[in-house]
């Protein structure tokens, strides 16, 4: 048997990255800033978006693409807080969104009338870290009901994020969680992470989050993030 070797040397993410570049180009042409929101299940992504839509949507037109393995429950929840489009992507078992799904979702969104686009990724701190969706920046959430060592356990997610939201801080008196240690762990992985401490339930810390979003849209892109 004669064996022939064919050198390929092609990146497995090349096709996804092509779609991500198309997403980025469409967002740039429309002047829309996109944030990719990632976390483990139950950290409060949807609740944070509910509060954000309720507080800002009137003056800051937003759209949301939600990713869920099954159901469009998150999209239904968010749609109660805005008359603007919330587009659901049901991945049908896949543990992450990919750029092709986001590109297709953009077809249903009036991008020129949208200043800020949230992509609420599938709840998972592993797989979504590897998939560029064409976003301007990645925001990772984790909650005080999780461990302070989450950033050390899932370093790629925290290393590829630009912003971190420590959520459910209203529960701090009731749980053995050291927020300073959690931030230190995160900065050990990614020294450039900017932190927000919030309770999407009580509203604690949300003013800083809202100010950040307003500034982001004003600037046209996240400070310190290339693109």
């Amino acid at each position: 048997m004669a064996v022939r070797t064919i050198e390929v040397r092609e990146r497995l993410m090349a096709k996804n990255d092509e779609y991500a570049a198309q997403v980025r180009a469409r967002l740039a042409a429309a002047g829309t800033v996109a944030l990719n929101l990632v976390s483990s299940p139950g950290s409060g992504k949807t609740r944070l978006l509910e509060r954000t839509l309720a507080a800002l949507d009137a003056g800051l037109p937003m759209a949301v693409v939600t990713g869920d393995v099954q159901t469009q429950n998150d999209a239904d929840r968010l749609a109660r807080h805005t008359s603007r489009l919330v587009q659901a992507v049901v991945t049908g078992g896949a543990c992450h969104l990919d750029a092709r799904q986001v590109l297709e979702a953009l077809d249903a969104i009036d991008l020129p009338a949208t200043r800020l686009l949230f992509v609420e990724n599938v709840g998972n701190l592993v797989c979504p870290a590897s998939w560029d969706l064409g976003e301007a920046a990645r925001v990772v959430l984790f909650a005080v009901t999780e461990g302070e060592d989450k950033p050390l356990k899932y370093p790629k997610m925290f290393r590829t994020a630009h912003y971190a939201v420590l959520n459910k801080v209203d529960l701090l008196p009731h749980v053995p969680f050291d927020p300073d240690l959690a931030e230190a762990n995160a900065r050990q992985v990614n020294p450039d992470l900017r932190f927000f401490r919030t309770s999407a339930h009580t509203g604690l810390g949300l003013d800083a989050w809202f100010d950040f979003l307003r500034g982001l849209v004003e600037a046209g892109r996240p400070a310190g993030v290339a693109g």
């Binding site: 064996v3 064919i6 390929v8 092609e10 992450h96």
Partner: protein, 86 residues
């Protein structure tokens, strides 16, 4: 479990490289997987073994190469070109 997505992408790239008709002649598929690529190598190997055992493949062997960093790419394919060894 995005390893199955990646394994499917490996198969797509292999088909693009050699054409569907030649996939049965592929004997090995080598993938470089960085330590920080966010990929569980044993899991990816299992997914590839499953896919490469099914037509149009005919039991090609996955070869996973560990490297530092976050590299993730299809490195090479080996094919039985049907000729006798010289």
């Amino acid at each position: 479990m995005h390893e199955m997505s990646l394994a499917l992408e490996v198969c797509r790239l292999a088909e693009r490289q050699v054409g569907r008709a030649a996939l049965g002649s592929v004997t090995a598929v080598a993938v470089i997987v960085g330590d920080d690529a966010g990929v569980e190598r044993e899991n990816l190997a299992f997914c590839l073994e499953t896919l490469l055992a099914m037509p149009p493949f005919a039991g090609a062997r996955p070869v996973l190469v560990a490297v530092p960093g976050d590299e993730l790419r299809l490195d090479y394919l080996e094919l039985d070109d049907g000729r006798q060894d010289d």
